[in-house]
């Protein structure tokens, strides 16, 4: 804040000084400063808030990860003893139970994320392309498909939890009672099937966003391209491969990244679906960290795991952006 007022003051003063003769070089520099400085000035409130709301807690988390912060010290955590890299050693010692569980949870999360993002993208893109042609009821369908995205997460997931119940759930009623696909009613909220349940809810919740974004992207592809392609004898499949998908590349780059980050970090879905202790097959990393931190009151180790997660996501995001933008650059040339 101090800087804001200081810059503004300098600006105001030199402006009035600019009108006095003899300050030939004066007016040019403030003008430049103003021109270059204005965007920074306008960004400053956002920057300060971003620091307060996002970065400060992050720094706190990083500090906490170097402390032996347990129930004995949370009351005055500034005084908790420093523990160096102990929390990290516990987290990445894959031969010990804590590290092994974290690694298991990491692989589960990776598999879950790849499947969920892939399915969300596939469903969203396919639907968006099919809904590109005008036909009666298109508007209605588009609105209908966006419903899962518009519903409050908690309410939607708790409804799924009811549907997945073993005894009275709708899913078992349809699969077992009506279609007879299974020998006996399956468990969806405990055991290995919980992964399928989690994936189903995640895709159901996530694909409308992909649909929305791809649909917006499709509006920017010139119709002439398709007409030209049709004249040249390209079928629908070829049009999709040669025109639609390449034109969507910049949209997809952002879409996949955002979906990846949301899915990898998803906490609400497993928490509402399974409660505090998720089944092993669906032990996503965010819920695993939560359990380490809150259920067992080990805030230091929980923070260390969060920091590792942050680093991993940073590396993946950085690598992804670097790779995709380089590919696009070479494609442009």
């Amino acid at each position: 804040m101090t800087t804001t007022t200081a810059t503004a003051k300098t600006d105001g003063r030199t402006e009035s000084a600019g009108s006095t003769p003899g300050a030939a070089r004066g007016p040019r520099r403030p003008g430049r400063i103003r021109r270059i400085g204005l965007p920074y000035l306008l960004l400053l409130p956002a920057l300060v808030l971003e620091l307060l709301v996002h970065l400060v807690p992050m720094v706190m988390g990083i500090l906490m990860s170097f402390k032996a912060l347990t129930r004995f010290s949370i009351r005055d955590w500034g005084a908790a003893p420093w523990s160096g890299f102990d929390n990290y050693k516990i987290s990445v010692d894959f031969n010990a139970p804590a590290g092994e569980a974290l690694l298991h949870s990491f692989w589960v999360t990776c598999g879950f994320t790849v499947l969920s993002v892939g399915l969300c993208w596939l469903l969203g893109t396919a639907t968006a392309i099919f809904l590109q042609d005008t036909f009666r009821g298109r508007g209605l369908l588009r609105a209908l498909f966006l419903v899962p995205y518009a519903l409050p997460v908690y309410a939607a997931v708790i409804t799924w939890a009811f549907m997945f119940q073993h005894d009275n759930g709708l899913v078992n009623h349809v699969l077992h009672d009506q279609l007879g696909l299974t020998d006996k009613p399956s468990f969806w909220l405990i055991g290995d099937n919980s992964f399928i349940a989690l994936l189903t809810v995640s895709v159901w919740k996530g694909w409308p966003f992909a649909f929305l974004v791809v649909m917006a992207g499709l509006q920017n592809i010139p119709k002439e391209l398709y007409e030209a392609a049709a004249l040249d004898g390209a079928g629908m499949w070829q049009q999709i491969r040669r025109i639609t998908l390449p034109s969507l590349a910049p949209v997809n780059q952002v879409l996949v990244l955002v979906l990846f980050l949301w899915t990898f970090n998803d906490f609400n879905t497993p928490y509402v679906l399974f409660g505090k202790a998720a089944p092993e097959a669906a032990d996503l990393i965010s819920i695993h960290v939560y359990q380490t931190t809150f259920a067992t009151w080990n805030f230091g180790t929980g923070s260390a795991m969060s920091v590792l997660l942050l680093l991993f996501l940073l590396v993946v995001t950085g690598g992804y952006l670097l790779l995709t933008s380089r590919r696009r650059k070479t494609a442009d040339v």
Partner: protein
């Protein structure tokens, strides 16, 4: 350009430094003790004891008004659901911004005691509320680590009992409720057919699992912690105890497999609907009424033992369940908080409140009231007096609930899916649970 960059970096550093020092300041005040800076108000966090939060407010409001009339202290009430209470307490502990007086689950006493956030109840503090010997011993046994000043005082006491459906028993030709596990399994098998089941369980509820296997372990002469507070989950007794409990579903098949995923009291509504004939529950009477069951449709008996009658040692048939009342150490109304605890634990309030919640007063003088000698409460009171034992009073109790509770949940999931539950598989799960406990 350069000067702007420098200015921007300066601003970033400055705001960071400010924020960090601000947070540091907050936590250092959290280290302070209590005061009497605002003697006219108190904030009270109540746990959810009634059928809903609205019910709790209705029960507590008139009593708090009474307190205000007596002392001139206004009590701001917040009823907090169980799913959030512990996290809220932890947050309050870290930030120092908490209530003055709060309810805690009595099994958390030792864990919260270790955090140092709660006012220790030394003799002086106990004297201000009429002395320690006003309370029942078993309830005092669940207020913190033995040998240290308690972290809280008992407020409501509860115990497990066997609730059974009289009509379903009569239909199956069973004349009296089972007193031993063998009898319970035999009766359960008679009932478990045609979509009806003998016993209900909350297989995915970690705390509930702990409460049950604790009693099973006691009956096998085993403890989950050694005398000096080290975790000891894999003893033969503990393994057998947990296998026995899960076997009620896996081997005896008197618990419906669907119960493996229950965590929100679904077994209670199954019981009320006549789908299961028995449940082991603490103070179910009020909830059963709200679920539409009439008082003469169900009976209460002491929870089963392995043989003989309930008592101490291996004849324990319940944990000491209940709610404790604690004072936050850095309250700004220390004297008022003690007055409020005195009020809540007074004979008259104990009768009113425990009547409303169907629990048993941990205050001896209040127990004589006839309300605690009905069909619903007599068995609970007896159990508390003679055959209930407190869960381990160790600082790691909450980790124990999470790790062993999860192990039992996973074993139930195995049983429900038809996978074998063997001594080896139980032992493996418990070994894993023990490894998750913090090393000392």
């Amino acid at each position: 350009m350069r000067s702007i960059r420098v200015a921007a970096i300066g601003a970033v550093t400055l705001s960071l430094a400010l924020a960090v020092s601000a947070c540091g300041g907050g936590s250092s005040t959290a280290g302070g003790g209590g005061s009497n800076d605002s003697p006219k108000t108190l904030t009270y966090w109540a746990s959810n004891q009634g059928a809903s939060i609205t019910v709790d407010k209705k029960v507590l409001k008139p009593e708090l008004d009474k307190f205000e009339k007596q002392t001139g202290i206004r009590v701001k009430l917040e009823v907090i659901p169980w799913s959030e209470l512990l996290n809220r307490i932890l947050t309050a502990t870290t930030s120092g911004q908490g209530p003055d007086v709060l309810n805690i689950g009595n099994t958390w006493s030792a864990s919260l005691q270790a955090s140092g956030a709660l006012l220790p109840w030394d003799d002086k503090n106990f004297d201000s509320i009429g002395g320690k010997d006003r309370f029942v011993d078993s309830a005092l046994g669940s207020t913190g680590v033995k040998g240290e000043d308690p972290a809280a005082v008992p407020l409501y006491s509860m115990a497990y009992a066997l609730y059974y459906n009289k009509k379903m028993f009569a239909d199956a030709g069973i004349s009296k409720p089972p007193a031993t596990w063998d009898e319970l399994v035999a009766d359960g098998k008679k009932i478990s057919k045609g979509g009806k089941w003998g016993l209900g369980a909350e297989g995915a509820n970690l705390s509930e699992n702990i409460h049950q296997v604790f009693v099973f372990a006691k009956q096998h002469g085993a403890d989950f912690f050694t005398a000096d507070g080290k975790p000891d989950f894999t003893s033969e007794g503990a393994v057998t105890a947990i296998k026995d409990y899960v076997d009620l579903m896996a081997k005896d098949k008197i618990i419906a497999p669907g119960n493996a995923e229950y965590a929100q009291n679904q077994s209670l509504s199954d019981f009320a609907k006549g789908k299961t004939a028995m449940i082991l529950w603490q103070t179910a009477s009020a909830t059963l009424t709200s679920l539409g069951m009439k008082d003469d449709e169900w009976g209460v008996a002491p929870a089963p033992v392995r043989s003989g009658t309930p008592g101490t040692g291996t004849s324990v048939n319940s944990m000491v369940a209940g709610i404790n009342l604690a004072v936050f150490k850095n309250t700004d109304n220390h004297d008022g908080a003690l007055k409020f605890v005195k009020f809540m634990t007074s004979d008259a309030e104990q009768k009113t409140l425990n009547k409303a919640y169907g629990s048993i007063p941990p205050v001896k003088a209040a127990q004589s009231d006839s309300a605690f000698n009905t069909q619903a409460t007599a068995a609970l009171r007896d159990t508390l007096a003679k055959s209930a034992e407190a869960l381990p009073q160790v600082a790691d109790e909450s980790q124990f609930e999470t790790s062993v509770g999860t192990a039992v949940k996973e074993l139930f999931a195995d049983a429900a899916a038809g996978r074998p539950v063997t001594t080896e598989s139980v032992k493996a799960k418990l070994e894993k649970a023990q490894q998750q406990m913090p090393a000392k």
